[in-house]
Symmetry: C2
Subunit: 385 residues, 2 copies
């Protein structure tokens, strides 16, 4: 096991009816900015419920945060916070809204060009505004971690920053708030959480016995509930387990003490930036190809994954690995999430542009061994056509 440092101060308030707890969780007397995405937050009544729980606090609203939140939009929220002297942010939405809120929290007090936050990957952040979350879309885990992904529309740069200062003070997770989600977004959430686990698990053995067991437990849970969350949107137990699994998939716990990959994410980010494909859908395209191309360096862990997660114990080692990758692809497809570039009318001729983007963003030595060069990324993309 590798040495690690683990610290996660976010409070989770989980369960049906917990939105009302905003009354106690947001400081009395706070001047609040509610950040949200589309109009579904209003249509479903969640915004009204949030407003009611905030009572007599001064509340402003900032809607229109896009999927893959843009720097340009977020800087308008920063200006509003400054002009109205607001002192608490409340994200109401999914990972994009929460990621955007983290950027706003860090940018408000930053005295240089706020894009520095992204280019430095967060190292310039010394303080941030306090904020909380009401999660409505389980997927990214942003509600209980210190990471954020923001895109600069002008340059199509999709970058990641992380800082101890942008842990949410609290996150409210009410599974019933997910009942009204479009099923395609729920399916995306399952794939996103699944891939988060795989990025932290499917590397090489490192004596992280507990971490492996936890990761396998999260994968097994997602495999069990994937069909259920799509078949019956109001299956509380299934939605509750999806919500909690997605949070645990990326809150630092299963990464502590073990190597991490993240090459699937970095390649996927460029596909989103260039072609607008949903984040999770890029992962579904890249992950099976990535496992296939790197099956030698991931050999031992692929066998463990085959046996413990999929129960595959028959056949030669290579056959078991083939079967495990096929089951992974099949699982994503069973959720209605395609796993090939051609499903998005993309092919070999589009790969050069992705590679150029990876190079421009310094993504030249990805993966748990730093051996995913641009040429290996090209092979992965070729295998994903």
């Amino acid at each position: 096991m590798q040495n690690f440092d683990l610290h996660n101060p976010t409070r989770i308030a989980f369960g049906q009816g917990t939105v009302g707890r905003l009354a106690e969780l947001v400081p009395a007397g706070a001047r609040v900015l509610i950040l949200y995405g589309g109009e579904s937050a209003r249509r479903t009544g969640t915004l009204a419920e949030v407003q009611a729980a905030l009572g007599s606090r001064v509340v402003y609203e900032f809607g229109g945060i896009e999927p893959n939140p843009s720097y340009e939009t977020l800087m308008r929220a920063v200006a509003l916070v400054r002009s109205e002297e607001l002192d608490f942010l409340l994200a109401v939405g999914g990972g994009s809204v929460i990621d955007g809120t983290k950027f706003v929290a860090a940018a408000v007090h930053y005295r240089g060009d706020a894009w520095d936050i992204m280019e430095s990957h967060g190292t310039v952040v010394n303080t941030a505004m306090p904020f909380g979350c009401v999660l409505t879309l389980p997927a990214t885990g942003s509600e209980m971690n210190k990471g954020s992904v923001v895109t600069r529309s002008a340059t199509r740069a999709k970058l990641v920053f992380a800082s101890e200062h942008v842990f949410p003070r609290f996150s409210i997770l009410d599974p019933t708030k997910t009942y009204s989600l479009p099923l395609s977004q729920v399916a995306n959430g399952v794939v996103d959480a699944y891939t988060h686990v795989m990025e932290q698990y499917l590397t090489y053995p490192a004596d992280g016995m507990v971490q492996d067991r936890f990761a396998e437990g999260l994968l097994q849970t997602l495999i069990e509930i994937g069909p259920r969350v799509l078949a019956a949107p109001d299956d509380y137990a299934a939605r509750a387990n999806l919500m909690w699994t997605a949070t645990l998939a990326l809150n630092g716990l299963i990464a502590a003490g073990v190597p991490e990959d993240w090459s699937t994410h970095m390649i996927g980010h460029e596909l989103t930036a260039l072609h607008g494909i949903d984040h999770a859908r890029t992962l579904a395209v890249v992950l099976p190809a990535n496992l296939q191309v790197r099956r030698v360096s991931k050999h031992d862990k692929l066998l463990q994954y085959a046996a413990r997660v999929w129960g595959i114990t028959e056949g030669s080692e290579e056959e078991r690995i083939d079967a495990a990758i096929a089951r992974t692809r099949g699982f994503f497809e069973s959720l209605g999430v395609p796993t090939r570039l051609r499903d998005y009318d993309l092919g070999t001729k589009h790969i050069d542009a992705v590679i150029r983007q990876l190079e421009a963003h310094g993504m030249t030595a990805l993966g748990e061994r730093g051996d995913v060069t641009l040429s290996l990324s090209r092979r992965i993309l070729e295998a994903s056509v």
Copy 2:
């Protein structure tokens, strides 16, 4: 899944060589009291290493905290903190030292009779001194939770308190610090962690799919490493996994959203208070009998435990349950930890006194359904003879 609130701000610094991180983790200029147990902390060099890392800070020492730390001893530490105006506590030891430190942290600022803290189970605690831990004995999980057990020697009352104010600020977990432990204490740690998981897992199904998977992963890990930690004290991977597993077994994570039992602990506490049996060893005596006596109300979870943890899938349901309980008992015995009262020269005639203690401490409706009455506790004790 039940609604839950989860918040754990303790920072974990894990791995070989992390004691030196005290230099950054303890506030500069702090006036520190180091609390420890026996002389092994000095003999092994850990105290000297701690002192070196603390540099020029003012440091006092308070040794002699007993296993099952006593109120009487701890109040002497409280007096020292007050008289020397110390402002940071550092526990160097195992669960007893950390539990004791939590009591001192809460008692220093408490204005009434400090035993109120125990009798109120912590509800009177409104503030506490900051403190950190250097863990040397993996077992209780106290290094990353808000609970503490303290015994009043005069009345043989062993009570529990919990408070959000007594989370450690940080805990340093260096697996190499466990190499020199007596093997009986290591075995006790495995049993203690195992039973902690069982108290939170082996109840009734509550749709906590992730929680169940995590609990099963912890149990599987303990079963795998139990023989290894006894066979080779300097097996770093085994010791590291024991240390991290024991922490995760009782840091609030696997309890979030599911029912909890704890009757084995409450009955065990009385055996320790009356007869001085090591805490973990009382659990090894009570747990198998408890599962046996309550096999009807725990039926579904016992079958799940049999299948997922022990791989028992053959035979009738009752046979599988019998086998799972037998494997549990056999695992404890394989570690050299006895599982019968008679192994401590105790028998049926000693049960009345235990029941009277349970009654005196209000332990009349224990367990996940509150149905472990004094008469059921008696049956459990009878089955443990």
